[in-house]
Symmetry: C2
Subunit: 124 residues, 2 copies
DNA sequence: CCATTTAGCTTGTAATACAAGGTAGCTTTT
DNA sequence: AAAAGCTACCTTGTATTACAAGCTAAATGG
């Protein structure tokens, strides 16, 4: 077998609180990252820091592919910036297209929160 | 080829508002369905009706597997009930375990909303 | 030169929603 | 009674995303 290196077998997580959090987070990260980038040029570590402060967990293996998707969709752009202490960094900015998309995401999120509110607060 | 029957090729949807809504909804349906079932015995069409009223779109192909997952996790149970106009229905109820799980989901959701609020409302 | 840190990236897996079908029971129409 | 229609439940294949667990390369410090 080619990939015989010990990759940990992930436990099945269906219907478990930790998995539910992961599932609920799907799509939300994209929204949050766009908001963070919109506030000003940032690179990956800045983003992770901001998200962590807000208790929104994200790991690098999630963030980098997400940034690539945003870039491919022309919602963000980046430029290389030399660092004073380490390898160069990709600093991201939002594009006009990204700002417009973010507007629709705001509406999507608000609508979703409202729907959920309506369903979960309804009485017998 | 065995499955040569014309199954519509789904358009790639990455970074598109409609897909984002789908992604954001992930995990949320489970939460909403548990809430609906907690309020009293219901069958699939009742659930779809309630969700649709709240503008939370869901199709049967999503709902039935979800109900099976909830059942397998012992979070809900069901009994067959004869209908006056059509085939029998599965009426679902929440279990004790389901109620407890729902409590943790409430916390997960609240926390997620708060994190998102913090990130998306922050100023420069 | 070598170890460490930092930055960016890749691969394989798992979970969920959806599209687009299908089967079977019951009712209504012909 | 047969055909047509509706209702309820279910299945299969695909797409998307997040995660675990790795990797490479640049810069720094000893």
């Amino acid at each position: 077998m080619l990939h015989s290196r010990s990759r940990q077998i992930r436990k099945k997580l269906t219907m478990n609180a930790s998995n539910t959090q992961i599932q609920m987070r799907k799509g939300l990260l994209e929204f949050c990252i766009l908001h963070i980038i919109k506030r000003g040029e940032v690179y990956a570590s800045d983003m992770i820091e901001e998200l962590t402060e807000a208790k929104m967990i994200v790991v690098e293996g999630t963030l980098y592919p997400l940034l690539q998707r945003l870039k491919n969709a022309s919602l963000v752009s980046y430029r290389w910036v030399e660092s004073e202490s380490g390898p160069p960094r990709k600093y991201y900015s939002i594009t006009e297209e990204g700002k417009q998309f973010l507007e629709t995401l705001n509406a999507t999120w608000d609508s979703l929160v409202q729907s959920t509110q309506q369903i979960t607060s309804k009485q017998k």
